[in-house]
Symmetry: C2
Subunit: 348 residues, 2 copies
């Protein structure tokens, strides 16, 4: 029997990797620091996912159950890896729960940390209760509560979604684009309009990055079917006149200052490197790239490789990623790890 | 010995799938309609690839050699599949070269077709010899010839790259975004500036979609290090004053008409569905999505699935895709196909 593959992090990418391995009869040990499996979509209570339109609790929840009930996957929740030694085919990992794993290979699917909007104070989060994040609006929807102003529970009549909060912002050291917030925000805007047909929803943007087939499914449809309005703008600040939130900025298409009142302002928060990345890099002996994500080899011939042989990486751990690409990368890392734990030519 | 997996199309995604299978001792039959393997990066003579920076002939060429020299991969070039019957675990494929393959599963990595700029006649391609496509500029660079005006071989002093040619354009039935042209164009602009330091390069855009970490590596670096200029504009037409090409349009940031002379105009062409997709869908009995790409199941639990059980899909065949994601998806499809040809629990 071949040694198991150690997978660290039970979000979409790690769950996909574990399933891909178990499906071909390969054992996996899945270690997750949180109490529950599922990663950000489950732990942060996402609503309907892009682009499948499935509810997170169904889609990712189903992936969790599939792995939890698989005899070939040994799950350690509330657990971290404290020590990791050896080489390809013969790694030894010590776990915080006292366990030890002899693994043939390892896959790091340790994900990201949501940007904390308190780091962008001039945009009102933490000062005004009706300035919220996309994650909070997801939770309002997925909980069944509905989209309501936190200050007094009223239905908002005017909502502004501000893109690139914690992304493309050199001032606060987040130079990267978070890739998926434009599309997630267009989706969220349609969900708000669906629940509250009288509510006006505006999206403030720098560029709309609904790449590929997201263009029609999210950007165009949100405008044409759902009448979501898009304003290309640089935002200066979010204040309050005591009654409404006021978004001040410059409309970069007409080169004029604009000041518009809203009931609710939503920060489309970006994806920071996992706050634990330095510790993870230390334990596993893998390199970080300059922004602090886990470094993935750029050679096409070497999918999913980190700087350490036998240790692979997938998903948002190596930079912001979509859920479907995270899942594809999880499968890819599993396929790569498999080549180490199953002697390649023996079974031909 | 388990049945082989049939892979149709030997671009990055198909090559990755074949390698992923062979590496774990699984046989594959790789069928490619062209004379050479490698897909668009090789057949169209791409230069340095995004984001690895490797030359296409080295990076993808290396993937080709790895597969061609692998005893577990049976390659049929200049060949198509003419008939495909059966179900998971027991497909039969007839090939145009007279061969027959008994396959356990199939992976369609049949790629895309470059947009033909003749379908956007008002932008000058086919009328003026110095209006070229990104692919042609890639070929000028990869051949060692250098970037020259086709009309008289001179080094251009001013180059305009027009984004979204055959993308995001309802008028000509291409509503999708081609995902990678913004980044490829920023990369190409830097390559032009590197070869011709005195040449001014302008990029005309609607939105700049250098998502994720491409933001700093391509968009910012092209402006800050390479002085590439970006103009947000709607382009009306490309004409000529007899000496220079004239790009006419409206600068959408200042709301003014702009008319600028150039020596060379480059169309950043998009990715159409493979022209053979209807035939492919017919032979394999799989569905197309509304734009004409191969339809891929949107459920996260079912990576790489087409509408037909046992037939999987990866890469640009299901819509424009980057090379690295195509490769990850190729691996993912291989991992999924493996579960069919290797009885799952037997080897645990």
């Amino acid at each position: 029997m071949s040694k198991p593959v150690l997978i660290v992090g039970a979000g979409p990418s790690g769950l996909a990797a574990a399933h891909a391995l178990a499906r071909v009869g390969q054992r996996a040990v899945l270690v997750e620091k949180a109490e529950r499996l599922g990663g950000a979509p489950i732990l942060s209570g996402y609503a309907k996912l892009v682009p499948s339109g499935e509810w997170a609790r169904d889609a990712i929840g189903g992936m969790v159950r599939r792995v939890e009930t698989d005899a070939l996957v040994e799950v350690h929740a509330r657990t971290t890896v404290t020590r990791f030694e050896g080489g390809p085919g013969e790694f030894t990992a010590e776990l915080s729960d006292g366990g030890t794993v002899q693994a043939g290979a390892a896959i790091l699917t340790t994900g990201f940390t949501h940007f904390d909007s308190l780091n962008k104070p001039e945009w009102g989060f933490g000062t005004f209760p009706d300035v919220v994040t996309t994650t909070q609006v997801e939770q309002m929807i997925s909980s069944g509560q509905g989209v309501r102003c936190p200050s007094d529970g009223r239905k908002p009549q005017r909502v502004a979604i501000l893109l690139c909060v914690g992304s493309r912002d050199r001032q606060i050291g987040r130079e990267w684009c978070s890739k998926i917030c434009c599309t997630v925000s267009a989706n969220l805007a349609m969900e708000i309009r669906e629940e509250l047909p009288d509510c006006h929803v505006y999206i403030y943007y720098m560029d709309i990055r609904t790449f590929g087939l997201y263009e029609t499914k999210y950007y165009w449809r949100s405008q044409e079917e759902f009448k979501v309005k898009y304003i290309k703008a640089r935002i200066a600040e979010v204040t309050s006149d005591g009654e409404k939130l006021i978004v001040k900025g410059e409309d970069t298409l007409v080169k004029r200052p604009i000041t518009i009142p809203f009931d609710m302002v939503v920060h489309a928060i970006g994806m920071d490197p996992n706050v634990d990345n330095k510790a993870i890099a230390g334990v596993f002996g893998v390199a970080l790239e300059p922004h602090g994500f886990l470094a993935r080899g750029s050679s096409y011939a070497a999918t999913a490789e980190t700087s350490r042989p036998g240790v692979f990486v997938a998903g948002a751990a190596c930079g912001r990623e979509t859920i479907d690409d995270s899942i594809a990368q999880g499968h890819a890392a599993a396929a790569t790890a498999l080549a180490i734990v199953r002697p390649a030519r023996a079974s031909a």
